[in-house]
Structure formats: C-alpha cells, structure tokens
Point group: C3
Chain length 359, copies 3
C-alpha cells in the first residue's frame, strides 16, 4: 500500500450539494434513496416518541375500523419523504423557513417503498446576495407510483459564488390552509361502530371539540443526543448540524441541533393526552421552527383548535384545524405563546395542521 | 390566528389519571392502547438488553424444538401489558409496591396484538389519609381474546381530596408462589432431542441445578438515559418520572428514574450467563424495586435457586424457582443481599420467579 | 426465603471463556446463539449508522436489479456472525489484532437465521508467556447450512495459568487480499439496465474510479454511549469493555470502549458520499483498529482506491479494492494517514476491502 499525505489523486466524487444559483424554476429533482418502510421502522418510531394512537398501534384495531392493517404514522412518512430531499435541497441551507400545502394522500403500510421527487417552484435571492430562498414542492410516492404525501417547503440556501446571477425569481402564492375538501385521502371509509373509545384512550369525538378550545398536553419529554441522532438517521436525513459534534463546536450554538422533525413528532405524541381520537394528521398548513432545541432540553406542548370542518362526503370523520405550540423547559399550563408582541422565549415550534377525528 | 396568553377556552380533556378515591373494588378497567408486537419490537428488545436465549433468538431453533417460530420474550410481553395499565392505575402513584401471582399463559408471537384489562381486587387507605394502596389483577389478551399473561400488582396512589372517604377496604390474600401445576401454559410440548446445548450456549439442564445454589452472573451493564427512555416508550408506558428531566430537577432525586422494568430485563439478560437453558420465565411470584436506578449506574445480578419442581405431565421441562438480586455499581461475586438486618445498599431489585429449564 | 451473604452453594455455572492454553489447533467450535435477522434489525442498523445504499434500502430497487428483495447490509451480517464468536474466542482477549480472507458468499435476507462456527487455525504464545495469539477462521451459516460469510481473525488472549504449556504452535499464512475470482457470490446477476443513478444517489460507476484516487467522505458522525451499546447488543456481542462503565473506571482508559464494528459501519455509511454505487462489501482483505474510540468522539473517513479488477464472468459489476481510513475528531480533507513514519494520531481504523460497483 502506498498511502501517504499527498493529495494528488484527490477525487471530486463527493456531492457538495446544490447552492442557490444552481436551482432553476421548474426543475424536477428525483431524489435518492428509495426506502422500504417496515415494522422495524414503526417500532423505532414508537420507541423514540411514544405515540399511542390506536389505529397506528394495533393491526386489530385498524382492521376493525376499516384499514388493511395499521398504517405507518403520518409523521414517520413525512420525515422519510423529507429526509430524501436534504442532500439535494438543503445541504447548504442556512435555515429551514417554513412548510405549506402539505397533504397526506394515501395510507402507507409497512412494506411500502417510498421515494421523493421535488419541483423547484420559486426562487428569491436575498438582498445581501449571499443567500437566497428556494421553494420546492416535494411529493412522496409509493412503489406503485401513487403519491402519498406532498408539501411545499422553503429554505434559505447559501450561494457558492456571490457574484453569480440568480437563474430566475418567483415567489409562489401559497395557501394559508389546505381546504377541507382536500382532506382524508389517506383514510379509508371508517366503520365508526367498531371504534372503541376505551381502546382508543379518549372519550372525546369530533363534536366534543370547540373552536378556540385550548388543551395543555401536560406531559414533558426530555430529548437525548443519542435519540435525536437515531431518529434522524432512521429518516436517512443527512443534515450535518444534527450529527457532527466536532464541527458544531465552532458554530454559534457550540453543539448539535436537534432535527426539527423530532420536535414535531414529540409534540404530536404528547398531544395524545387530550386528542386521543384525532388519529390522523391530514394536512400541514404551516409550520415554523421558532427556536432550536438541544440535547437535555424538555419538550412540552399545547394545542388550540383554530377551526372545525366537515369533510365533504364523509360522515365518519370530521376535521380539526389545530395549532400546536411546543416549548422547551416550560410547562404549558398557561399556554405560552406571546409575551407582548414577541414570541415567548420558551416556544420552539408553531405548527398549524389538520387532524381527522372520528365522529 | 388569535392565540395569546389568555386561558379562556382552556380544555379539561387531558386525562389526569385516577386518584385513590376513584377506584372501586370489583371495577374492571379496559385499558388503551392495543399494541401489535412485531419483529421490530423484538429487535429493539434485543438491542436494549442483549438477551441470548436461543428460543427467542432463532426461528429455526424455536421451530426445531416445537414452537411455531421464536416467541416474543416473556418480559417484553410483561412490559407491554404493564405499560397499558399506567395511565389508568399508576399515573398518580407514589410507589409501585409489589407483584404477585404472575403467570405466562400462552406464547406470544410477532404479529399478535396485545390489550390489557385490570380488575381492582383490593383497596386500603393509609393512615395519613393522603394515599392508599390499590391492588389490581391485570390480564393481557391476544387478538383472539385469549389471556397470555396475568399478574397482580399493588401500588400506592395519591388521593385527590384528603377528605374523600375510601370507596371500600379489602386486602387480598396473595399466594407466596405460583404452584408448579400452574406453570408452562406458554410453552408447547418440546422436542427435547432437538435441543442443542451448544447452540443454546449452556451445558446445564434442569437436573444440574440444586436448591440453594447461587450463581454470580458476572457481567455488568451500564444504563444510559436514552436507552431507558427508548425502552419505556417502546412499552407505551407514560409514567412521567422516566421522561421529564425538567420536572425531575425539583424531585428528591433531582433526575429521571429508570423504569423498573428495565432493571428486570437487564437482570434476566445477564442471567443467561449461568442459566442459558432456562429459556422461559413462567411465573412471577414476587418482585420489589428495592432502590432506584439512575442513568450512568451499572447493573449486576446474581441468582439463588430457591426451589425445584416437576411440572405435572411434562417430561420435557422442569421448573426452577429463582431469586434474582440486581445491584448497582457493585459486582456480585459475594452475592450481596443483606448487611445485618438491612438490605445491602447496592441492591435495587429482589425478584422471585419461576423459570422453565429443558431436561 | 433464606438468602444471606454466605457464599456456600456458589455455582461454577458461569462461563469464564477460554484462555490461551485452552485452544487447540484444528478445534472446531460451534457457537451459541443462532439469530434470525429481521427487518427490525435492519431498521436499527439504518438508525444507528445512516446507510443510504439503494439496494439495501429499497425492496423495489433490489428486485428491479435482480435480488429477491433488499438483502441485509453486509456489515450487519458481519457483526452478527462476529458477535457469536466473542463468548468462545475473545472473552479473555487483550486485543483484537486483525482480520483477513473475509468473503461474503451468499446474500442474507430478513428472515434468515445465522449461526457461526469457528476453526482454530493457528496459535502462537507470546514471549512473556502471559498471553498468546489465537487465529480462527469463522464461518457464518444460514438456516439451510449454506455459508454466507467467512473470515479469519486473530486476537491476543490471556493465559489462565502462565505456567501452562501451549497446546501447539502454528502461524497460518494468510492472503494479502482476496482474489477477484473469489468475489461476488453474494450478488445475483444484475439487470444493469434497471439501475438508476438518480435513485442510487451517485453518477459514478465502475469505470469512473481510478487506482490511486482518494475520496474525502466529508461528513462526520459523533458517537454516543447509548448508540454503541444498542448497536453492540444488537449483535449479541458480549465483550464487557463496551458495557460495564463501573469496571471501566479502573482501566487505563477509564471509560467504555466503542466496539470496533461501530467504526467500520460508520465509515462504510459515510463512504456513501463518493461511493454511492459501491453497493456491496464483497471481501475484507485486512483491518486494524489503530486506536480506540470513545463516546463523544466524531468519526470521519476517507478512502483510497488501491486496485481495480474485473470479476471473472461478470459484465454487471466490477471490483474496487479500497482502503478506508477512519479518524476521530479530525476531518479528512487532507487524507490523514501517516505523520512521518508514524500513524497520524487521529487515525482509528485502517480497513482494506473489496467492494462491487455497478458497471
């Protein structure tokens, strides 16, 4: 063997990721790596967050109400679909700015294979010319080529060359909320008579929830570094801020950041306490990671019912539009959100989404 | 959106759990959430504790000796059945006092769905009137409605209102040990000729063990916070003392407690070294969590053979009644248990159970 | 119950492991515990290291190119086969010295059951007479009795009795590298036309790699104690240096060592960035754990292409002989390996292996 420290022969085969000026409006990116989701992934998801929704936990319960078996948790699907986009979209991102128009379109079952395609739907260079905002609509497909989830996200990406001209400029108009007519594609027609409140763990159904109602989910969950790394790798998400503790020492935080998807999944799992029959995340209207979370922090959450809607053609389920606020190191009995005009410093997530609740 | 810090609209939908005065003798509680156990759960169980019993590890070994395939580890079944009871029984518990009359009744295989029903069989208010002891017999069922496990536990539960009168008083008589005639329901008739000591990892069979014999299991296992959280969530156990590090700062320990089931499973896995052919936990006679375990502590274990018994009608297996003592940060070469009349301060678990050993 | 601190009745049933003088050349050891590998194990492997090779990630991709479904990651197979040997071979080891002649012979699929047999092929007492080197050829078999992997390792093992004479002496001649004619048994004939570079995540195929080329895999991965314990137990590897933090306090490192297999798997997963179409580890020519890794350290890796070879009779794949160097707390842009005649102090792994790359 002849290795020494000469860098002759150094390869350029490593993927540096796209920078802002490399994106083009209308470009379609087919992402690596397709991923078969298994009951192993489901077990890990349960172990990482502790969800207790009966449809996703029990094949028997799921079959009884009308599914083929327990579907994969909606947010596990979201994280897997999202994870594939990271190497192509956000490897050089400064910040993940927001989500919109997210819809869950078909159930995903263990054994299904998920791949993701993104279309660049908007670009806007920042005035400092060092970065720009990239808007993508990402769609997850199953092995039959059927879409299972789509959503828009926008992300601030560095430029490789400040002098480079942007390839275009367009800021897409995005809906404030998914329409109720667009909900429920991932839920079969339910046999409501087979739904047991006792087994599901909640006696409150759709009609029991009121617009404006606020629910403190009470429980707290502390996050450890090993947990967030295990979770983020499960989704094959490669964003280095979550994994490289050595490099993190030189960042402004001085440590690894917890993947925002971990916060969303924890908040959803905590929300079982108060929303046990809200068995399905049907749409993501918007979401913002307000502040970073670190290992050792404890996550709490509370929810406000923003809206209620019938789902056209369905007597089995109704839709609640929820805002779930997650905090760190601050219980939510007082529903912390704003302090005057500012966001309460404990708030880490502001998540606006539709759930379906059995009627 | 209109959220602010007003608590008008605050919901009472969160489940606060039952307090002592809410329990009634004879009450039957059907717990949420049914749970399908999968090979994913089995993989996590292996990864969390490191068990090496061949029946549970190898489908081929299990089939060869008479199972349909590898059954799910008995203690994984126990933890799942137990976990379901927490929101209804012990959310307001001060202490988990003991177990008795635990019996494993049928094998559980990956794909089976487990649910739990508890009957309140005893109540006894404490003299301080602030707490009382609740006795429940909990039974885990599979998807066919067949019982797979039953056990009694008693737990000290807070009262919501000190002035409230207890709803009844009865202290049940509980057996000191399950009878040998009641063992073995979860084990098919074994083809002993197919049992390989080499593959099973032990040359000692039932006849090789003597009453009074003590076995130091030698190895130690340090427990990390992430591991105990992942384990406890896997069982959908929601006891907050295991998860909320922020609230734990204000407790007398100042940190999260490790779920006692983690200690039982670690002690069982460590006991492979000396008890490799004791492939099945058939009954739990009694168990006491003598002292708490915390992240960073190292668990060791030793076992005494308390009794031996034939299992009526079975020439394939015999039963050993074992007491396994787990310690923290103290190897067990000297079999630590008592210091004079007191328990050795290193002792954390005193577990009395029956195992079946191949003959 | 009668337990006290008397050690009368103490048992000798615990397995102390073999010492150097207990091994005999030609001895064949059939190891406990057979292990059925499931999609649960695969999910954990993904979550622990983050591999993204499409063949192992997607059943659809695997089927499209010619596999029955996604095969189990080669290194997960290696760690499981290896783990079984620990209680018999290296429980009293001072150091794991090297690997050679490793070949992956058949694909392993979820549901397959793996067992391991080792033959002692060499012994050499050290001049200090306190230790000796044991050479074993270990073979992993599936449930049909077909070999799936074989490799040689040698390990320095303590003597129980310094005065004991060695049972023999022989130092086997081991190949420097597996011959290209011996590669590929674990890979079916591939339908290259179905291989999508986009889905696989790399546009570089066999012909694009040059001997002497060096690839910095760029990304870093920090390892946590919980992760390495979960990983090592998943393989049922019982080497106590990875688990017993209490005993580790009295060692020269003062803390637990991370299992070397964790480093190999991390380096392989990191190597995806630059080697995405190198979907299969076909052989292990040699490997050396140059320095220990501890919790909190960050692993980086770079690779040099040592050789290229046609695989006789196959137009679908070609073989690259790679040396992958893993470092700790030192990014690899400068390909650290030697400092003068010494190994760079950041280097922890020097791994020489063949991969197959699609053509």
């Amino acid at each position: 063997m002849t290795a020494d420290n000469k860098v002759s022969g150094a390869s350029q085969k490593t993927d540096p990721g796209r920078f802002f000026e490399h994106f083009r409006i209308g470009e379609v990116i087919r992402h690596a790596t397709p991923r078969t989701i298994t009951t192993g992934d489901v077990a890990l998801y349960t172990a990482l967050y502790g969800p207790r929704f009966a449809v996703q936990s029990s094949d028997e319960f799921a079959r009884g109400v009308g599914y083929a078996r327990s579907p994969v948790d909606d947010l596990l699907v979201f994280h897997v679909v999202f994870g594939k986009t990271v190497p192509d979209i956000s490897l050089n991102a400064v910040a993940n700015l927001g989500y919109a128009e997210g819809r869950f379109l078909r159930p995903v079952y263990p054994g299904d294979t998920i791949s993701t395609v993104s279309e660049v739907i908007g670009l806007k260079e920042n005035s400092n010319r060092k970065t720009g905002v990239v808007y993508v609509r990402s769609t997850g497909f199953n092995q039959n080529g059927d879409p299972v989830l789509e959503y828009v996200r926008w992300v601030m990406v560095r430029k490789a060359d400040e002098a480079a001209a942007p390839t275009g400029e367009h800021v897409p108009q995005l809906g404030k909320a998914v329409a109720a007519t667009d909900l429920g594609g991932a839920v079969p027609s339910l046999n409501v008579g087979a739904w047991s409140n006792e087994l599901a763990g909640s006696r409150y159904r759709f009609d029991d929830y009121q617009v404006g109602e606020r629910i403190d989910h009470v429980d707290g969950m502390t996050v450890e570094e090993a947990e967030q790394q295990i979770a983020t790798r499960l989704y094959q998400n490669t964003a280095k801020v979550h994994f490289d503790g050595h490099a993190a020492k030189d960042t402004r935080f001085g440590k690894r950041l917890i993947y925002g998807g971990v916060v969303i999944s924890l908040a959803r799992a905590l929300s079982f306490n108060g929303l046990g029959n809200a068995f399905h995340v049907a749409a993501i209207n918007g979401g913002r990671h307000v502040a970073p979370l670190f290992s050792g922090d404890t996550v709490y959450a509370w929810t406000e019912v923003l809206d209620k809607a019938e789902v056209p053609g369905r007597a089995d389920v109704g839709a609640l539009r929820l805002r779930t606020i997650a905090t760190k190191n601050q219980p939510c009995a007082a529903h912390p959100y704003k302090v005057g005009d500012d966001t309460d410093p404990s708030v880490i997530l502001d998540f606006d989404y539709w759930v379906l609740v059995v009627r």
